[in-house]
């Protein structure tokens, strides 16, 4: 294990993290920018295969040129905050935060574990897509909306593939357009939100001319693509892989169902803030969002949060929040306060977005009792729905205990049951034993037991159930 010390540690190199790193280093702070991806830019600025960083990424990286970068390293563990013992002016500076990251690659010497020691931490964790379970959603060929786009950017071939896009949010249209460009046959875009609210939202874009321009550009590119509102997939079918999807459409008086033969279904119901690491650090998470004040400070001293983790609001809000967080983390509170005005106006836009694409009640009736909800543990809806909360479901059904640690089923159960997500425990992702060995917050790995009759001689870790 080796150690990296820094004044400001920024976790996540998407728009919010890049803006935070840029602002903090411009304010003179020593910055370390960590991201689990090999590239900077986050999901929205993910470069296509073989292409360099997007222009926006490059210009923010240039502003952050004085900061150090650590790509391809995933933070899996963090020391819980020490209980505060002193208050008032006599209190000394809080001790630095200690987090541990695992670099990609295969290096069993232990040098792939990095101890990150930071005076202040800016969490720019982004968002995950919100998947809702319906019969057949686990078939290969059913992917997320941003998920399919990311796969295509990674080199997945979709030429002449029949693709349906379903779920909710402006991302559906953006991905439809990019799939057309990649040569896919887009058979339809099925948006669960009714047409009226979405049209009103579109009309409201006159106050955001750049966003309006983007929306009109997308619609022009999609003029030959079938677009349906108040419509959502109720079932996917196929033998070993997706072959067809059944979509329902709520019309004025009748409910119609239609079967569409397809090769790929891209389906996600908006985004859910990524909160796992914040929650593990002890930050308050309310309503699925990390709670922050006007300077992006969380409820834990010296831990800040910016971007989608504090509530879904798109790239402009993420950039604004990142700027504020970066200034605040560098100790320039006045600059941060001035920059926070932009956050407030962008947040109003985010609220209109949320209203227009609010998820409809019918979606909560999508899973049947035998529909898998937790894909890691194959826990079905019938086993989960009678539990009291996410904790009880986890203890009694293993729901959320697999390698993804509830990142997929957690946001689904927020919608289906109204359950707050479980606070994750380290390690946040499955890591090799040697990485656990260096972590003081984890129990000592038990490797010496050799009783052959004991079914488990090793501690349970995410993903070791096979």
């Amino acid at each position: 294990m080796r150690e990296e010390r820094t004044e400001v540690l920024v976790i996540g190199a998407g728009p919010a993290g890049l803006a935070a790193a840029a602002a903090a280093s411009e304010q003179g702070a020593d910055v370390l920018l960590v991201d689990e991806n090999p590239f900077a830019g986050g999901q929205i600025w993910r470069p296509a295969r073989g292409a360099g960083p997007r222009a926006q990424t490059a210009s923010l990286l240039e502003r952050a040129a004085r900061s150090r970068r650590l790509p391809g390293a995933v933070v899996f563990d963090a020391d819980a905050p020490a209980p505060s013992v002193t208050t008032g002016a006599s209190a000394g500076a809080p001790p630095p935060r200690r987090l541990r990251a695992l670099a990609s690659g295969n290096d069993a010497s232990g040098d792939d574990v990095i101890e990150l020691v930071a005076g202040r931490v800016v969490l720019a964790l982004g968002a995950t897509e919100r998947f809702l379970p319906f019969p057949g959603w686990t078939l290969p060929g059913v992917l997320g909306v941003g998920g399919l786009q990311a796969m295509v950017k990674g080199g997945m071939e979709v030429r002449e593939r029949r693709v349906a896009i379903a779920g909710s949010g402006p991302l559906l249209l953006a991905v439809a357009a990019s799939l057309l460009d990649a040569g896919a046959h887009v058979v339809g875009v099925f948006e669960q939100a009714p047409r009226g609210p979405v049209l009103r939202f579109g009309a409201g874009l006159v106050r955001h001319p750049r966003k309006l321009g983007q929306a009109l550009g997308l619609l022009a590119r999609l003029r030959r693509v079938r677009r349906v509102h108040s419509s959502w997939p109720v079932r996917a079918e196929g033998d070993g892989a997706l072959e067809r999807v059944i979509v329902r459409r709520a019309a004025k008086r009748a409910v119609r169902e239609e079967t569409i033969e397809i090769d790929l279904l891209a389906c996600a119901f908006g985004l859910a803030p990524a909160t796992g690491l914040a929650s593990m650090l002890g930050c308050e998470v309310r309503g699925g969002r990390v709670v922050v004040d006007e300077l992006q400070r969380t409820t834990v001293p010296n831990v800040l949060c910016a971007g989608e983790s504090t509530g879904i609001g798109g790239v402009d809000l993420a950039l604004a929040e990142g700027e504020v967080a970066g200034c605040a983390a560098a100790g320039r509170l006045d600059t941060a306060r001035a920059a926070s005005r932009r956050v407030r106006s962008e947040r109003r836009f985010a609220e209109t977005l949320e209203r227009a694409f609010a998820l409809r009640e019918e979606l909560r009736e999508l899973p049947r009792d035998d529909t898998v909800v937790c894909r890691c543990e194959d826990t079905s809806w019938g086993a989960i729905r009678t539990r009291r909360d996410a904790r009880q479901a986890k203890l009694e059904t293993r729901c959320g205990m697999g390698p993804c640690q509830g990142r997929v089923c957690g946001p689904a159960l927020e919608v289906l049951c109204g359950w707050e997500r479980e606070r994750p425990r380290p390690p946040l992702i499955p890591v090799p034993f040697h990485a656990l060995g260096v972590s003081p917050s984890l129990p000592e790995p038990v490797v010496a037991r050799t009783d052959p009759t004991s079914p488990r001689t090793l501690p349970t870790l995410p993903g070791d159930h096979r």
Binding site: A51, P71, N106, D111, T128, L143, G144, G155, E157, A241
Partner: protein, 112 residues
């Protein structure tokens, strides 16, 4: 190892990754068979592309992992969240193939 200002530290390399033109091809070994793909393809995309009819007619490999109950699964999130695309790469288990770029000589074991 200390990082200098402005320096980007690469993760510990599995093998030398020299800069190369985008058109370069790399060959990895998947479940004992060679698979040649353009450099910078993610492993997940390379695995899924084996199912494309233009390449390999009638060959269903969209899914390349078995769930705990034995269901065939393929990638879902494409961005390192869901772990549905995980495989053993160069001996390390549970690697998210969507977060990993193909390299020459890489050995990938799926469990489907």
């Amino acid at each position: 190892m200390e990082l200098e200002t402005g320096e980007t530290m690469e993760p510990p390399p599995m093998r030398e990754r020299a800069p190369r033109p985008a058109s370069r091809l790399v060959t990895l070994r998947v479940d004992g068979q060679d698979l040649t793909v353009p450099a910078d393809t993610t492993v997940a995309a390379a695995l899924v592309n084996r199912s494309h009819p233009g390449r390999n007619p009638g060959f269903q490999r969209l899914g390349f992992r078995r769930s705990v109950r034995g269901e065939l699964r393929g990638p879902l999130c494409g961005m390192g969240i869901c772990f549905e695309c995980r495989a053993t790469i160069d001996g390390r288990p549970h690697v998210r193939t969507c977060m990993t770029t193909c390299c020459d000589g890489m050995v990938v074991l799926t469990d489907a």
